[in-house]
Symmetry: C2
Subunit: 158 residues, 2 copies
């Protein structure tokens, strides 16, 4: 990428995404949702997050349409909620896989990754890869140029 | 992905990556580093982060080998530091592109993305895409299975 001096970083899509999910607990809640966990107690137990924090983070994710909150009731029990990923929420998956890839390379235990992601159809390992729409893959930062898009805002001083 | 109940999330590579870079300011510093910005003042001005927070975050990124701190001196000025992405740091790029992709789809201004990433060689737009090593691309969460890897730890109660 190249320098973007002269343009405002104010409406940057990275910053806006981070405002919604860019908090460690939120991303761990989403990890659990991708594992198929849906219930407050499951999130709480697996993440080890304080209940009040978990409630706040879940409310934020519901508010932004990333998780959908539904009621369910088991026989003889009171009504509870479960949280399911929406289509918008499922589109966050590449972010989690990219975090996993980097962690597996740099901070995994000596034994290796704790988790393996595989393509359901063929069994090959899955990664988040930078590709262009013309099909060129495994791009590195030096292969990518950044230019102002239609929403770019010039800095007042530029 | 499928349920991972029975296995510990303690040594999860996602959680470990987030412990290092999973703080909004750190990811915004890295965004600026990928733009080619290297100096404290540039980071400070473009991100709008408090100086003490910026100093702390930079120190953490240097400590983990993500940024390399080097001295430089301009004629007649005192010695200053600049911060460059290491090879390990450059491997974080897919995380930022995945954050950008989601933001562009869901939270960009009506005019469109503020930033366009293009393949330097062919000009086509670049995205972070889930692919398997056998070459099957544009995988969605339902196309991916998660199984315990060599570093998986059984939960005591399982």
């Amino acid at each position: 990428m190249n320098d973007s001096t002269g343009y405002s970083a104010e409406n940057c899509s990275i910053a806006r995404t981070l405002q919604i999910v860019g908090e460690r607990w939120s991303l761990l809640i989403l990890r659990e949702a991708f594992y198929g966990n849906r219930r407050f107690e499951q999130f709480q137990r697996r993440i080890g997050i304080a209940r009040n924090l978990l409630a706040t983070r879940l409310a934020t994710l519901v508010e932004h349409g990333i998780l959908d909150r539904q009621s369910y009731q088991e026989p003889g029990q009171r009504s509870r909620h479960e949280y399911r990923l929406t289509a918008k929420g499922k589109e966050l998956y590449p972010i989690l896989v990219a975090l996993l890839d980097w962690g597996d390379r740099h901070v995994a235990d000596p034994e290796g990754p704790a988790l393996l992601l595989q393509h359901r159809d063929c069994g090959a390992p899955v990664h988040a890869e930078l590709r262009c729409e013309a099909g060129h893959g495994q791009l590195a930062p030096r292969d990518v140029t950044a230019t102002p898009g239609p929403g770019a805002r010039l800095l007042p001083s530029a």
